[in-house]
């Protein structure tokens, strides 16, 4: 009996001890995540970053020991800030297939003018884009081509879960860690164009150091053989030269780190040039706001993209307040008033029937270039390498992006979009289309293409149907099942008995992504002047033309009607627009009718009153 009591007591104590150990472990785990830099003391001042720099192995960078080693942001910044949590942020998590892609965004555009290719690619699950792997782009090659305009992490990190491809050069280039300085460096000497140049030289591991103001990088991993780790013995090996004067006696360096990211850092990756129109600043920025006033994030770096519908479909805590409605009208779900954040005025929308807010997004009237009869062509940072030393400044350079295209979005509302007409060679099997990498096209059908033509403007080659037929014939020899096809200008071209036949296919549908900037002032929004800003048969919002971009000579200068992208009835749209001619007459007629009715009612009301008064006064008539 006593023995069983002791056993029971031992069991209870063990249970209590076990629970407390688990709790302690969890507590310790939680404490590990909250590093010193991730817990605010409550001060509004930014902490001064006099810190030591560490290389990728975690050794502090000292002038007399390893001064030629690039610093590692994971090791240097990661000592105080949870690098793992940050690496799951929006700018770095595209390769994570479990992350919801949300609304379609700007894709990376893989283009090659000699093969007449421009194809949207993305790691996110955005319909209409292809995965880089479908075009033979490994993470390394994706980083090599597009790393110029993304801040590291994600595809810049080797995927250890799969066998590396032979053509990858991770050993030589190193990994492209998250470059915290790409956003948080407050120094004017921070050079993101140099970062892009280092990427182009395959100097992934050195890119962050090369871009900062207190170091320069020479050499090129591109010149080194595959699988050779760069060493100081090699002349071509990348080498870092630090400004020794920036190192304090205790071997620490002052980094001008800012929590509130300056707009210039965002501009490098998120600029748009509208060809044929002068630059007009976003009204929010002109009012003194910064990008991160709206596009906020916490430690998780899950930056709010700011579109309607983002908040309920994501776990981003700032998404609700980051949308147009969130600032200007307040958050519906908030328990306290949130309208007017950062001085956002409440829109009056005087004279705008409420049905517009069901059919149109805020950006339809307020964002992007004011539409003209035909869409503009635009250049963007990520598509055209804007801001880099090697950027092609010609207005005719690929890829060709049309804007604004007022199309019905996934939420059913009409919004302005940027539009890309994909052009690529592919295999067609049934109704399934698989793109062919440009390198394969060149190797198989190079003789039929203009490989030796250097187009100064990097624009489309002029493809004839005969050229397409020749290329398809060459590609068809490599196909086991199905056939080779060419997609461009919204159509699919097949080779049938030696001739090119075109047909509609989903693969040819343009890829569109909604735009929200630059926001125009209220007085420049659509509808600010009159209803006829949109509701007229010569206005672009409904009756504009969208240029069809194609290298095929016979289809040049083709256009599509804007209303085709709005799923609207063309006859109805024309009829409704024409009815606005009579709108002033309608107002006059209605007011005249009201005046007549009111006159009759008032007159007979007075007559009735007169009768009543007479009766009450005893006049018996």
């Amino acid at each position: 009996m006593l023995y069983s009591h002791k056993l029971r007591y031992l069991g209870i104590v063990s249970l209590i001890l076990g629970i407390s150990l688990v709790c302690q472990a969890n507590e310790t785990e939680a404490e590990k995540v909250r590093l010193i830099g991730d817990v605010s003391s409550g001060s509004g001042a930014t902490a001064v970053h006099n810190i030591s720099l560490y290389d990728k192995k975690g050794f502090v960078i000292l002038p007399e020991v390893n001064f030629n080693q690039p610093f590692s942001t994971r090791q240097s910044c990661g000592r105080c800030h949870d690098y793992e949590t940050i690496s799951a942020g929006w700018h770095f998590n595209a390769v994570d297939e479990e992350v919801q892609g949300g609304r379609c965004g700007q894709p990376w555009i893989y283009w090659d003018c000699s093969t007449a290719t421009q194809i949207p690619i993305s790691y996110r699950q955005w319909p209409g884009t292809f995965k880089p792997g479908q075009l033979g782009l490994t993470r390394w090659w994706f980083t090599r081509i597009f790393g110029r305009h993304f801040p590291g992490g994600g595809a810049g990190i080797k995927d250890n879960s799969s066998q590396p491809a032979l053509k990858d050069r991770w050993t030589v280039s190193g990994e492209l860690e998250i470059n915290c300085l790409a956003c948080h460096d407050g120094e004017a000497s921070h050079d993101q164009a140099e970062y892009a140049r280092q990427i182009s030289q395959h100097n992934f591991r050195w890119a962050a150091a090369g871009s900062c103001g207190f170091a320069s990088v020479t050499g090129s991993a591109k010149e080194l053989p595959d699988f050779q780790e760069p060493s100081s013995q090699s002349e071509d090996a990348p080498t870092v030269f630090y400004d020794a004067g920036r190192f304090l006696p205790d071997r620490k360096v002052f980094l001008d780190i800012v929590g509130k990211v300056p707009n210039e850092r965002c501009y490098f990756c998120h600029s748009t040039k509208i060809i044929g129109q002068e630059y007009r600043e976003d009204v929010h920025l002109a009012a003194g706001l910064s990008c991160v006033d709206c596009h906020r994030n916490g430690l998780d770096h899950m930056i709010a993209r700011g579109y309607e519908g983002e908040a309920p479909n994501s776990s981003k805590p700032f998404a609700a307040s980051a949308s147009c409605e969130g600032c200007h009208l307040g958050e519906e779900e908030a328990s306290e008033p949130t309208e007017g954040r950062l001085g956002a005025p409440r829109p009056k929308h005087a004279g705008i029937p409420v049905v517009h807010f069901d059919k149109l997004s805020c950006t339809a009237c307020h964002s992007g270039p004011r539409p003209r009869s035909t869409t503009f062509r635009i250049k963007t940072s990520r598509a055209h390498a804007l801001g880099t030393y090697s950027a092609n400044k010609s207005d005719d350079t690929l890829p060709y992006i049309q804007s604004p295209v007022f199309a019905r979005g996934a939420d059913g509302k009409i919004a302005p979009h940027n539009l890309l007409w994909p052009a690529y060679w592919a295999y067609l099997s049934g109704e399934s289309v698989t793109p062919i990498a440009p390198e394969i096209v060149k190797s198989v059908a190079g003789k039929a293409l203009y490989l030796d033509v250097e187009l100064a403007s990097a624009s489309w080659p002029e493809l004839s149907e005969e050229t397409i037929a020749a290329v398809l014939t060459a590609l068809s020899s490599t196909v086991a099942e199905g056939e080779a096809v060419y997609i461009c200008g919204g159509k699919l071209y097949r080779l049938v008995e030696g001739k090119i036949i075109a047909r509609e296919h989903d693969a040819g549908r343009p890829y569109m992504w909604p735009i929200a900037h630059n926001v125009r002032p209220a007085a420049q929004s659509l509808g600010a002047v009159a209803c006829e800003d949109c509701h007229a048969t010569d206005k672009a919002f409904i009756f504009g033309k969208v240029a069809i971009d194609t290298p095929l000579v016979s289809d040049k200068n083709c256009v599509r009607k804007m209303m085709e992208f709005q799923d609207g009835d063309a006859f109805y749209a024309s009829l409704f627009a024409m009815s606005f001619v009579f709108r002033p007459w309608l107002k006059v007629a209605a007011l005249a009718s009201c005046a007549a009715l009111a006159a009759v009612v008032i007159l007979y009301a007075f007559k009735g009153l007169a009768c009543i008064l007479k009766v009450l006064a005893g006049e018996n008539r």
């Binding site: 829109p347 009056k348 929308h349 005087a350 004279g351 705008i352 029937p353 409420v354 049905v355 807010f357 069901d358 009835d569 109805y572 009829l575 409704f576 009815s579 709108r583 309608l586 107002k587 007629a589 209605a590 007011l591 005249a592 009718s593 009201c594 007549a596 009715l597 009111a598 009759v600 009612v601 007159l603 007979y604 007559k607 009735g608 009768c611 009766v615 009450l616 018996n620």
Partner: protein, 169 residues
């Protein structure tokens, strides 16, 4: 001739009323969505014509729908000890019909004004929503008033024709 004109105006108004009722209530009650597309265009077109016809009818028929002592015999007994009943003109409308007529005239004002005011840049979003509600509820009341008026008018017209046929015989 003039009577024919009045009847024509009445018939046009009635036709427009039917169009307005169908286009106004069908999408909302049956399709479960607000007015859109061709429904809107038909509604606006019929509404403009209906408003004009109402104004004409108001001018032409107001005198005949004027309330008289014979409409309120109980009130007359209260106010005056001796009631002198007035000879009813051959085409005098009944009390309910007169009430319906003036209700129509009164309700037409908010129905028309609410929509016309929305077309001017005077009211913001809240004002637009308020005007839409005014239009919605006054339209419902107007519809009921028109439905109440018409049976009386049609009965009167039919009765008059029957009398004319008997006289001819």
């Amino acid at each position: 001739m003039f009577n024919a004109f009045k009847k024509l105006v009445y018939l046009v108004a009635l036709l427009c009323f039917v169009v307005l009722t169908v286009t106004g209530f069908y999408p909302l009650l049956i399709l479960g969505r607000s007015l859109y597309g061709y429904w809107v265009m038909a509604h606006i077109t019929a509404g403009a014509i209906f408003g004009g016809c109402l104004a004409v009818l108001a001018i032409l028929w107001a005198e005949r729908h004027r309330f008289s002592g014979s409409d309120w015999p109980w009130l007359q007994r209260i106010i005056r000890p001796r009631t002198e009943s007035q000879r009813r003109p051959a085409e005098q409308f009944g009390l309910m019909q007169k009430i319906a007529f003036w209700l129509i005239m009164l309700l037409a004002l908010p129905v028309i004004l609410s929509i016309v005011l929305m077309m001017f840049p005077l009211f913001g979003t809240y004002g637009q929503e308020f005007l839409l509600q005014v239009h919605r509820y006054s339209s419902i009341a107007l519809t009921l008033a028109v439905i109440a008026y018409n049976p009386f008018y049609l009965t009167m017209v039919v009765g008059k024709h029957k009398m004319q046929i008997r006289i001819k015989r």
